[in-house]
Assembly symmetry: C2
Homo-oligomer: 274 residues x 2
């Protein structure tokens, strides 16, 4: 089967178009694609160059190229629509209903101005990221006062990546607490967490999955033994249930799935939304 | 001005729809919105509940609600289209041209199967994130051999958050090297980096911006003094230029912008694309 050339073209980072494109392409698992992202296409001249790159791809493939396009300028968009490409134009599809609803035209200048004005937003993300790094693995218990959320779980359930994702993407101050052998045996929360009960969220995982993650990380041994992971997974679950802590399973879940569940189950608010 | 109720509805995490929605709404800076994300709406029953939540919002606002929707099921989509909402349907807009081009129907089951099969993808992201954490601030120079990219810059130019973003989102193994006073004075690369010349990318920043970041972080003092930041910023730039290292300015740039520039300027390949 031939490979389909796919282009993600954007006048900015291309993140929006690649997020949308990837989620659409996943619906066609039998289709082989060759994806090229071309960001910052913010002038007519650059756009003309891009059409030539795509034309070259046309010559090398028997399949018509698919162009996902997130570009505000109507002139540039027109340039692509005129060509013999399959163009999926994000803005064309959605700007007219929005403009009609809002009764104001879109203002492309606003995007740049917004970024420049929003160094606050940037600072929040940086602060939150530093917070996650510093609050990692319970090192600085005093940070719990400033946390928006505290993730609990045994070692290797995905606490750190989830905290970092929440920080980088949403500016959330996320701390984490690794459950200790003592916590698990007594099925009770450590004192330092008792006053933060409303910020707690537990992460669970399937024992077999945990075992394979731990083996990959540190090899065979007590840490990865069947008996140990069974004990830890079962005890963590009991602890969450007994203390009425909301929790989610991270087995086979992406970081995005875990984060979305935390938002919808705890009522945690996004601090920023880029 | 009234606040417009906006809903992001998804049968999965809602990340795609919130990314698209946010980038569209930024084009209308005068519009005040109240955004509610409702993820995992994957059954007809849940969808009916959601329409009721949106109906309630209708009653409380004089403005018709806007519903950005990323849902595969035609039955559920229909339910929203029948209502008196302004519905922006991601899949409706794009699935028919794709299905026509690919000559196969979309396969919603494939999405779930893909996630389950792709624990490799998950491992790559976790590995890359651990790599970024361990390789942070040049602690483990030996990791440079395994790095896909090595970011250079003076303290507080955004190296760590950029590395973490590259790891979490794209599975990129990103290390960083904080330029030392000695590197800056001699305008030369340390030995440990010489053999990795093709992996280097420099981060620059405006001195006034750097000064304010450092003051926020550690207060006034030599570290944040005008003289010191001027010296560091100027010397870093000279070092990049003299050693032919590609570089980008992080002043007023989001992490996403910096990352996109790195991809487009260095030819670095995304390891995964979720």
């Amino acid at each position: 089967m031939s490979t389909r050339p796919v282009f993600y073209i954007s006048d900015h980072t291309g993140i929006t178009v690649e997020t949308l494109g990837n989620s659409l392409l996943k619906l066609y698992p039998s289709v082989k694609t060759n994806i090229i992202t071309l960001p910052f296409i913010d002038s007519y001249e650059k756009a003309v160059d891009v059409t030539e790159i795509i034309n070259d791809a046309c010559l090398q493939s028997s399949l018509k190229p698919i162009v996902f396009m997130s570009i505000i300028s109507p002139q540039i968009r027109e340039l692509f629509h005129e060509k013999d490409f399959i163009v999926l134009d994000l803005f064309k599809a959605f700007l007219s209903p929005l403009t009609e609803a809002f009764e104001v035209p879109p203002s492309p200048e606003a995007v740049r101005a917004n970024i420049e004005a929003n160094s606050d937003e940037y600072e929040t993300r940086m602060d939150a990221t530093n917070f996650a790094l510093n609050a990692d693995d319970g090192v600085t218990v005093k940070n719990y006062d400033n946390a928006d959320i505290i993730l609990l779980g045994v070692s290797r359930t995905g606490k750190t990546p989830t905290c970092l994702f929440l920080a980088l993407r949403y500016g959330i101050y996320a701390a984490n607490y690794p459950l200790t052998e003592e916590d698990l045996e007594e099925s009770s929360l450590p004192k330092s967490l008792l006053k933060h009960r409303d910020k707690l969220y537990g992460l669970c995982i399937n024992p077999d999955r945990l075992r394979s993650i731990r083996i990959a990380r540190r090899g065979e041994g007590k840490y990865a033994s069947q008996q140990q992971v069974n004990f830890e997974c079962r005890s963590a679950l009991t602890l969450f249930q007994r203390n009425h802590i909301p929790y989610g399973d991270t087995t086979l879940s992406s970081i995005e799935e875990v984060a979305s569940r935390i938002f919808s189950e705890t009522g945690l608010k996004r601090r920023i939304n880029f």
